[in-house]
């Protein structure tokens, strides 16, 4: 439950930082979708003889796993940072306004 009327226009630095980290957490899956859907643009042999040379499987697999690892690392670091900075209001951290 937010106390909208009482919320000041400018948040103190701490909770401002916290909220931006929540924003990052929320945007992370969108970044993930973008990066993992990028292979849709890669050429494949089915595109015909004029298509550029196909990507080797080892490169493709490395790419997918590196993205995976990066997403996990980002999620982990955001989680641990958020946990280290508990907001005063527990409810607000659930709401993440």
């Amino acid at each position: 439950m937010s106390t909208q009327g009482a919320t000041p226009v400018f948040l103190e630095r701490r909770s401002y930082r916290r909220r931006r980290m929540m924003d990052a957490l929320r945007l992370l899956p969108i970044l993930g979708v973008f990066l993992w859907m990028l292979p849709l643009f890669w050429p494949t042999p089915a595109d015909g003889p004029t298509a550029p040379e196909a990507v080797p499987l080892s490169t493709a697999a490395t790419y997918v796993f590196v993205v995976w690892l990066a997403l996990i690392a980002s999620a982990f670091s955001l989680w641990s940072l958020l946990r280290a900075r508990p907001e005063m209001d527990e409810d607000a951290s659930q709401e993440l306004r």
Partner: protein, 892 residues
């Protein structure tokens, strides 16, 4: 080579180990040591039942066939977990707040606790998941057969499948239905699947490490071999890459077994935050070595060997029996944990939404029957478990275990993904209705059956090949792989795209055109705004239930001890010492939720409504929806208005009574007055007529004088009687009015002349002739009579030194009034109230009037449609004659 018997021995030992772990976990729970059982780690590991034997064996086979495509099945869930804030957070909160026991329970609860919806979801889930269970049985027997190959004929595959099914059923029955838990959590099962999760991860990683470093000789040579293999280039059907990622994400949310571990077994919402990065890590590790194993398998194994079993056959071919056994255990773990949780989830659904409602309705006594219902619930759970595993086994027998593992898995995924629109739509959109959800589910399900399930048996088995080529009933646009005539789409993508799209479309369109029941709207608000208020405002007419009934029912579901604790806590919360708590609305709601955790929302709702009476719900809920406080306010306003009305009526009655009393006094006074009035003239008439008769030699002058007196007295009598008669006629409504048109000024002039005639000291009358220029259409004689009466009264009773009467005409819109204001002593308040009554006379005036004049005036005005009132002035009295609006014509 490991003998089958050794393998079976290892399996049995492993299973015994699992039984022991589950048993000790249950023991620890009973002792209250649950903290370590419910750590975030255990939660994350329990989520790994997403990775079934399909992952363990099938992923490698999938990679061997289609390269990197296998990974989409793990990308979707990873995205869902990393994006937990978007959907999972709300799903878990709603599921916990509503005590949902299954996907079917959640959907039915959201849409007004509709059991019809729960039944549909349950049947769909059973149909969708049974092939998946069959797949697990198949993978276990296939892997056993691999070990048995050298000693041909040593393994009876169907027999093995039967024993595996039997063992799994036994485990699920033992640990899944040990007790009817208040929160439907199974610590034993969860800890066992967490252990299995570790085993399968270690097994797969061990095989992977062996393949990369043991066979290929390091990472760099491995990469070279990958690129050199038949699947060495990026060959991707783009639509499949996109569709399968989305499908796996959807299935991850909608799979009944995932709901069980993710929502039902969730102990703390914070565990979800940890799992948001830990579970993608698990999935990544599970997928890491899939491509290397597939590549090495394609390289080393003879052509035609089943790529689904490379995880086993590579170590065996390399003589690594120990590793192969570990790998077998990993596959075995994947299969068993999936079957156990899936069966548990499905049996909860079947028992809560099909068996229990049927059982309850088949009992005439309903919910109030004595005896422990828990036994019935547990029995029905166990029967459901046996039924579902039995169905899986039957499916396995009849499908013959032929199709590639991945295909069955995908078909199952498309089936359960049909729940997603109703599930997510229900928690984000308040406008979603029961009929919308039903329409969406049935639409999606139908398309899934036609485009995905039935074609999977191959042409000519269920659907004839003519249906594939020419369409259903020869309709070209209903072909299983080319709906609406759009050809060339990959069959899986085709099924996903059409079923989900049309499912969502039906869900939204039907929701838009139907109207939800009050309970649905209430639940919708509860679900969608779960973060704003987690309390429930559903109105039970609690006063209709007795605490004893509720206690009896609760005992039968939760058990005596649990129920008594619940009731004791409530009683002490209500401030009652001992005894049963009052059945307040809040308590009944709380109770319903506790029961829902055991038997599902729809059944709990039905049971409570049997005691409380369901009929009250709709009205009560509407009141709640329309804001309870507003209702109370309105009610108190109504009460206030009523009490005002009552006191007003009482006041009027009191006034009427006073008036009646006054009238009665006046009537008595008048009777003596009238007799006096009549006797005085009669006495003089009698006396003077006697004188005339008896006196001899009376002069002419004398005679005339006496006769005149007699005549005058007789005239006075006549006048009195005329007045009385006039009034009587007016009051009885027998008067006939003669309407004519004339000027108000003339009428006043005539009236004044008549009233002043014969008067010795005439009244000074002031008028404004300009105002009197009004044409009237009314009975002029009667109106004149009123005016004459009023003027005569003023002349007679005005006690001022120079009596004066001001006659003024005023106009207010269509209303015309003529006022007669004198300058005499104002009439006292006591008399004012009765001056218009018959026989009323003001003060002790001379007896010349009978008190009928004003009564006649009022009667006449009432007949004419107007009124005459008295206005009290500081000096003098004003009588106002209100003329009916239609009588005044346009001014001249």
């Amino acid at each position: 080579m490991a003998s089958v018997n050794l393998l079976i021995g290892v399996s049995l030992t492993y299973v015994t180990f699992l039984f022991a772990i589950a048993f000790f976990a249950e023991r620890a729970t009973a002792r209250g040591q649950v903290t370590w059982l419910r750590s975030p780690l255990v939660y994350t590991l329990s989520l790994s039942i997403y990775c079934t034997a399909w992952t363990f064996y099938g992923a490698v086979g999938y990679a061997a066939r289609s390269g990197m495509e296998f990974v989409t099945i793990y990308l979707g869930p990873s995205l869902v977990m990393i994006g937990w804030w978007w959907a999972l957070r709300k799903l878990v909160r709603v599921g916990r707040a509503q005590r949902a026991t299954s996907v079917a329970d959640l959907i039915s609860s959201r849409f007004g606790k509709s059991n019809l919806l729960a039944i549909v979801v349950t049947i769909m889930a059973v149909i969708g998941v049974t092939p998946y269970i069959a797949l697990q049985l198949q993978s276990v027997t296939l892997s056993l057969a691999i070990f048995a190959e050298p000693e041909a004929g040593a393994l009876n595959q169907t027999g093995a499948a039967f024993w595996v099914a039997f063992g799994l059923a036994l485990f699920t029955v033992l640990f899944g239905t040990r007790n009817l838990n208040v929160n439907e959590r199974h610590n034993g099962v969860v800890i066992a699947i967490a252990v299995e999760a570790v085993v399968k991860l270690i097994a797969l990683l061990a095989v992977g490490v062996f393949v990369v470093w043991g066979v290929a000789g390091g990472v760099a040579p491995m990469m070279e071999r990958i690129d050199a293999s038949p699947i060495g280039t990026w060959e991707m059907d783009r639509s499949r890459w996109l569709a399968l990622t989305a499908l796996s994400a959807a299935a991850f949310l909608a799979l009944p077994r995932m709901f069980q571990v993710m929502v039902v077994e969730n102990e703390d919402e914070r565990h979800l935050q940890i799992a948001s990065w830990a579970f993608p890590l698990y999935l990544m590790l599970m997928s890491l070595f899939v491509v290397p194993i597939a590549v090495i398998g394609l390289d080393l194994m003879p052509a035609g060997s089943n790529p689904d079993l490379f995880v086993l056959t590579i170590p065996l071919a390399q003589g690594q029996v120990g590793l192969a056994t570990l790998s077998f255990l990993g596959g075995f773990s994947s299969a068993t944990s999936m079957v156990i949780v899936a069966t548990l989830a499905l049996s909860t659904m079947v028992s809560n939404h099909i068996v229990m409602p049927v059982w309850l309705s088949s009992r005439v006594e309903g919910a109030q029957v004595s005896g422990d219902v828990r036994n019935v619930v547990i029995l029905s759970r166990r029967a459901s478990i046996l039924l579902i595993i039995g169905l899986g086994y039957v499916y396995y027998r009849f499908s013959g275990g032929g199709a590639a593992l991945a295909a069955i898995g995908l078909i199952s995924f498309v089936g359960v993904a049909q729940f997603l629109p109703a599930m997510l739509g229900g928690i984000i959109w308040r406008g979603a209705t029961r009929w919308g959800a039903l329409a969406g589910l049935l639409m999606g399900f139908t398309i899934w059956v036609f485009c995905s399930l039935l074609p999977s048996f191959g042409p000519g088995v269920v659907l004839s090949s003519s249906v594939f080529e020419q369409g259903l009933f020869g309709l070209g646009w209903v072909r299983p792989h080319a709906l609406f005539g759009i050809e060339g789409i990959d069959p899986t993508v085709h099924a996903v795209a059409w079923s989900i799209t049309l499912n969502i479309a039906a869900f939204i369109i039907v929701s838009l055109v139907t109207f939800p029941s009050p309970l649905e709207r209430l639940q919708g608000a509860q679900f969608v705004n779960v973060f704003d208020h987690s309390g429930r405002a559903q109105g039970w007419d609690a006063a209709r239930a007795t605490s004893e009934d509720l206690m009896v029912m609760t005992q039968r579901i939760l058990g005596a001890e649990e129920a008594q604790t619940l009731f004791r806590l409530e009683a002490s919360r209500q401030g009652l010492d001992g005894g049963l708590p009052e059945p307040t609305q809040g308590f009944v709601q709380h109770l319903e939720r506790e029961l829902a955790a055991s038997v599902g929302a729809a059944t709990a709702h039905a049971m409570i409504s049997q005691l409380v009476g369901g009929a009250s719900v709709s009205v009560q809920d509407l009141m709640a929806v329309a804001d309870e406080s507003a209702q109370i306010l309105e009610y108190s306003n109504q009460l206030e208005a009523k009490s005002h009305e009552l006191s007003r009526t009482a006041h009027q009655l009191r006034e009427a009574n006073q008036k009646l009393t006054a009238l009665s006094v006046q009537k008595d006074a008048f009777l003596s007055q009238i007799s006096h009035e009549l006797r005085t003239p009669m006495t003089s008439i009698r006396s003077f007529s006697e004188i005339l008769r008896d006196t001899e030699g009376m002069g002419q002058v004398e005679k005339t004088r006496y006769a005149s007196i007699i005549h005058g007295e007789a005239m006075r009598l006549t006048r009195l009687l005329d007045d009385l008669l006039d009034l009587s006629v007016l009051e009885n409504g027998q008067v006939s009015l003669r309407h004519e048109t004339g000027g108000l000024g003339d009428l006043l002039e005539k009236s004044i002349r008549t009233a002043q005639a014969g008067s010795t000291e005439p009244l000074t009358i002031r008028r404004r002739h300009v105002d009197e220029a009004v044409m009237l259409s009314t009975d002029h004689d009667r109106l004149g009579q009123v005016f004459i009466n009023l003027i005569t009264n003023a002349r007679k009773y005005c006690d001022a030194e120079t009596p004066e009467l001001v006659i003024s005409v005023s106009r207010d819109g269509p209303n015309l009034s003529v006022s007669f204001a004198d300058n005499g002593t104002p009439i006292p308040d006591d008399d004012r109230r009765v001056i218009f009554e018959k026989f009323a006379r003001v003060g002790n005036q001379d007896g010349s009037g009978a008190g009928l004049g004003l009564a006649i005036c009022r009667e006449i005005m009432t007949r004419l449609g107007g009124d005459v009132t008295h206005v009290r002035e500081a000096h003098g009295n004003t009588f106002v004659v209100h003329l009916p609006s239609q009588s005044a014509l346009a001014a001249q």
